[in-house]
C-alpha cells in the first residue's frame, strides 16, 4: 500500500461539501488528508498523479448489481464483477441477494464481504433478502444480517406480493434503521410478460408486462410507508414508468422516507428495440416508451431521483441465445455505465458533472446509509479520477465482466474513469 498519494492539478468535484474547483488532493493511508489549491509534494515516499484536465471525484457507488455468487459463477463472480467495477470507476457496489442460494442470513452476508475483501477491488456490500428464500412469505433474519453489515433488504427479481408481509417487513426493519428496497411488480398483473405491454408487444406477439404492474405495487408500498411513519426507509428500485415518477413525486412532496433509483437502459433504450427479438434488450422492468424516458429525465432534472445504478445483470451468451420468450431478463452494463450516463444526462444537459457525480456518490451512499461518497477530510480515501473527454467505442470483448449481454456494444461514448483509488490504494489505473 502507498503511504501517500497526491493527486495534482485536477478539477475536484465533491458535491457533499459543495466543492467544484481546481485543487490538489492528498491521501494519507486510508484517509483523505487535505484538499487545497496547491499542495507541495511531500518529501516522504509519495505517489504523485497528474490529473490535469481530469475530474477528481468521490469514488462512484452503484447500489444495484448482480454478481451471481454464490450459484452462477459462470456468469459473474464477486472477483470479476468487482474488477469490472473499479475499472468503471466504482469504489463501492451493492450486491443483490437473488443468488443461488439467496443471501438470507448473516453467514451469507459475511460470505459476500469475505469474497469482496479477497478480490481487493471495490468494496462489496450486500443486501439481504426480505423473506426466506425470496418467497414472499416469512421474514428473513433481518436483524442478524444488519448486524453482519447488510446495507438493505430486497427480494429483487421478485416484488413482495403480499401486502401484509410487506407491511411487517417495513415495520420490523424500521428498528434497525436499514433501508427496505422493492422491485415493484405485481405478479398477477405482470403475468408472463416479457416486454412492455403495448402496440409493440401486440405486433411482436409477445406477452406484455404492463406499466401498471410496477405502479400498483409502488402505490401500495407508499400507503404502507405512510402507515408506519417512524424509522422506516423505503427505496424503490429501477423505476421505469412515467406513472412511477408521479407516485415518487407525490410521496416526496409529503416528505415520506421514499427514495428511488434509475438505470441507464430506462433512459437510453425503448420498447421498439425489442423488434428484432434481440434478447440483449430483454430486461425487467422492461424497456418502456419515449414518454417514460422523458418523464424519468425530467425527474432527474428536478432532483426526484436519489441514485443512478446499473442493475448490472450478467448472463451467459448461451442463455441469451434463446427465443425472446425463454431467455432470461438482464443487461450487463457495469463496464461502460459512466459513458452511458454522460450520453443520457450530460450531453442533453439534464445534469452537469457535479449533478451527475452527486447521484453516483453522495446520494446513493445516503440511501444505503454508509459514510461514503464524499471527499471530506478524514473520510475514507475512495477517489475516482475521470477523463470527461475520453471518447471510446464500447467493446464487450474488452469487458472485465464475465458476461457480454450488453446492447450497447459498438456505441460511441465519452467519459471514463482513468484511476480508481479504494481505501487509499490504487486499484485501477489506465
Amino acid at each position: 500500500m502507498n503511504a501517500e498519494i497526491l493527486i495534482k492539478n485536477g478539477h475536484v468535484i465533491d458535491p457533499a461539501n459543495g466543492v467544484n474547483k481546481k485543487a490538489d488532493v492528498l491521501i494519507k493511508g486510508e484517509r483523505i488528508a487535505e484538499i487545497a489549491g496547491k499542495i507541495a509534494v511531500p518529501k516522504d515516499k509519495c505517489t504523485v498523479i497528474d490529473a490535469a484536465g481530469k475530474l477528481v471525484t468521490p469514488g462512484l457507488i452503484d447500489i444495484h448489481v448482480h454478481f451471481r455468487e454464490p450459484g452462477d459463477e459462470e456468469e459473474e463472480t464477486i472477483a470479476s464483477g468487482s474488477a469490472a467495477a473499479v475499472a468503471a470507476g466504482f469504489t463501492s457496489v451493492v450486491c443483490m441477494p437473488n443468488t443461488k442460494p439467496p443471501i438470507e442470513n448473516e453467514t451469507d452476508v459475511e460470505f459476500i464481504h469475505r469474497k469482496g475483501r479477497r478480490a481487493r477491488k471495490s468494496y462489496v456490500y450486500a443486501m439481504g433478502s426480505i423473506t426466506k428464500g425470496r418467497e414472499g412469505v416469512e421474514l428473513a433474519e433481518m436483524g442478524f444480517m444488519a448486524d453482519a453489515g447488510a446495507v438493505g433488504f430486497t427480494d429483487d427479481g421478485n416484488g413482495v406480493q403480499d401486502a401484509a408481509v410487506m407491511l411487517r417487513a417495513l415495520k420490523y426493519a424500521s428498528m434497525f434503521n436499514v433501508v427496505v428496497a422493492q422491485h415493484c411488480q405485481d405478479d398477477r398483473i405482470a403475468g408472463n410478460g416479457v416486454m412492455n405491454a403495448g402496440y409493440h408487444s401486440t405486433i411482436l406477439g409477445l406477452p406484455g408486462l404492463d406499466a401498471l404492474a410496477e405502479e400498483a405495487m409502488l402505490w401500495r408500498d407508499i400507503q404502507l410507508v405512510k402507515k408506519i411513519k417512524h424509522g422506516v426507509r423505503y427505496h424503490v428500485q429501477h423505476i421505469s414508468t412515467a406513472g412511477s415518477v408521479e407516485l415518487v413525486k407525490a410521496a416526496k412532496k409529503e416528505s415520506l422516507p421514499v427514495t428511488c433509483e434509475v438505470t441507464p437502459h430506462h433512459l437510453l433504450l425503448t420498447e421498439e428495440m425489442c423488434g428484432q427479438y434481440d434478447t440483449n434488450y430483454k430486461v425487467n422492468p422492461p424497456l418502456r416508451t419515449k414518454k417514460d424516458i422523458d418523464s424519468l429525465k425530467a425527474a432527474i432534472a428536478d432532483g426526484l431521483v436519489d441514485a443512478l445504478v446499473t442493475d448490472h445483470a450478467p448472463h451467459l451468451q448461451s442463455e441469451k441465445e434463446l427465443e425472446f420468450l425463454t431467455a432470461p431478463f438482464g443487461i450487463a452494463s457495469l463496464d461502460c455505465v459512466l459513458g452511458l450516463y454522460v450520453k443520457a444526462l450530460i450531453e442533453p444537459k439534464i445534469l452537469d458533472w457535479p449533478g451527475l457525480i452527486r447521484l453516483m456518490t453522495e446520494k446513493p451512499a445516503k440511501v444505503i446509509g454508509v459514510d461514503k461518497g464524499t471527499l471530506g477530510i478524514g473520510k475514507a480515501a475512495d477517489v475516482t479520477i475521470i477523463d470527461p473527454k475520453a471518447e471510446y467505442v464500447i467493446d464487450t470483448g474488452k469487458f472485465k465482466s464475465k458476461s457480454k449481454n450488453c446492447p450497447y456494444d459498438g456505441w460511441r461514448v465519452s467519459g471514463r474513469a482513468v484511476t480508481t483509488i479504494v481505501g487509499g490504494e490504487i486499484r485501477f489505473q489506465i
Binding site: 408472463n192 401486440t202 420468450l325
Partner: protein, 322 residues
C-alpha cells in the same frame, strides 16, 4: 414453371417467410398469383411438379399441429421435395437442447428449408438470423401465421374477385391469435376493412393503434360484413378466465343460425380450424352454404406450395449472385 399467367413484373427476393407485416401489397399479390398457378397442379392426374426435386425440407414443430403440418408436407411432396418431420416430443429438445443447436444440427444434415412452428413469438426470426437455410413460419406464439393469412386472403379473393372495400370481421380471441394478426396485415394491405370483434379482455394491448376497427358487439356488425372469420378460443394460451363461461361467450360472440339470418346472404364464413362446434360456431353454420372452411384447407396446399417455391427461388438467386 407453374407460375400464373397473371404474374406481375416483380422480383421476389425473400428467402424467408416470417410474417405478413413486413410484406408489401405487391409481394402479397405475387404469392397469391403464384399459388393460383400451383392450384392447378392439385387437379392433375399426376399431382406433382419437380420444382423442389432434391431439396430437403424439415417440419420443425414445437407445438401440436396436424392440419398445418400435413398441409406443408403435402405441399412439399407435390413440389417433389424430401420431407423429414421433427417434433419436440421425439427430439432432443426435451433433453434440454436449445432451438439454435437443434437448427444447427438440422443444417448439418443439409436441410434447405425449415418450416417452424413454435410457441414463442419471434422464434422463426431468431432462427433465420442464425442459419443459412430458408425459414418458413408455420405459426409463432401469437405473433403470425403467414401461410394462414395468405390462404384466407386467397380464398376470399377467389370468391369475391379481390379484397378491396370488403368489410371483414375477425371474431374471438384476438389477443392470443396469430391468425388474427396475419389476416389483419394481409387483408388491410389488400384494401379490406378489418373489424376485430370480441370482449375487451380478449383484445391485445393498444389494439387501437392497429389498422383495424374494434367492436365488442357481434350483433352490431353482423349485418354489414362481407366476410366473417371465427377464431378458436385458445384456452391453452390464456391465463385467468377472460370470460365468465363458455355459455356466456357463445351468447355474445357465437355465430349462430339466428345471427346468420341477419347477415348478408352471400357472407363468407371462415374458420382457421379446428372448430369447437357449438362454442364459436353452430354446426349448421359450419356446414352451411356460406361456409368455405373446407375450401380454406384445400387452398392452404396451393399457398404453401407457393411459399416454399418462392423462398427456395430467392435462396437460389442469392447463391448465384454470390
Amino acid at each position: 414453371m407453374a407460375i400464373s399467367k397473371k404474374a406481375r413484373p416483380f422480383e421476389w427476393a425473400r428467402k424467408h417467410l416470417l410474417g405478413l407485416r413486413e410484406l408489401s401489397r405487391d409481394e402479397l399479390l405475387y404469392v397469391l398469383d403464384t399459388a393460383a398457378g400451383f392450384e392447378e397442379v392439385s387437379k392433375r392426374e399426376v399431382k406433382k411438379t419437380p420444382a423442389l426435386r432434391g431439396k430437403l425440407i424439415v417440419n420443425l414443430f414445437f407445438e401440436d399441429s396436424t392440419r398445418t403440418r400435413n398441409s406443408f408436407t403435402l405441399a412439399a411432396s407435390r413440389l417433389s421435395a424430401d420431407v423429414i418431420n421433427f417434433t419436440s416430443k421425439e427430439s432432443s429438445v426435451s433433453k434440454g437442447e436449445s432451438l439454435l443447436d437443434t437448427a444447427r444440427n438440422l443444417e448439418a444434415l443439409g436441410v434447405d428449408i425449415v418450416i417452424i412452428r413454435h410457441n414463442a413469438g419471434g422464434a422463426p426470426t431468431f432462427l433465420s438470423r442464425n442459419i443459412n437455410a430458408c425459414v418458413v413460419n408455420a405459426g409463432d406464439g401469437y405473433c403470425e401465421h403467414p401461410t394462414q393469412g395468405l390462404l384466407d386472403a386467397y380464398t376470399i379473393r377467389k370468391h369475391k374477385g379481390g379484397l378491396k372495400g370488403l368489410k371483414i370481421a375477425i371474431v374471438g380471441d384476438i389477443a392470443h391469435s396469430r391468425v388474427a394478426r396475419s389476416d389483419m396485415w394481409a387483408m388491410t394491405k389488400l384494401g379490406a376493412e378489418v373489424i376485430f370483434v370480441g370482449p375487451p379482455t380478449l383484445m391485445p394491448a393498444e389494439v387501437g393503434k392497429l389498422p383495424v376497427t374494434v367492436s365488442y358487439s357481434l350483433d352490431d356488425c353482423i349485418e354489414k360484413i362481407d366476410v366473417i372469420n371465427m377464431l378458436r378460443i385458445q384456452f391453452e394460451r390464456q391465463s385467468g378466465n377472460p370470460f365468465p363461461s363458455v355459455r356466456e361467450y357463445s351468447h355474445y360472440f357465437g355465430l349462430t343460425v339466428d345471427r346468420m339470418k341477419r347477415a348478408k346472404p352471400d357472407i363468407m364464413v371462415m374458420h382457421p380450424g379446428p372448430i369447437n362446434r357449438g362454442l364459436e360456431m353452430e354446426s349448421e353454420v359450419a356446414d352451411g352454404k356460406n361456409s368455405v372452411i373446407l375450401e380454406q384447407v384445400s387452398n392452404g396446399v396451393a399457398v404453401r406450395m407457393a411459399a416454399l417455391f418462392l423462398v427456395n427461388q430467392a435462396a437460389a438467386q442469392k447463391a448465384t449472385e454470390k
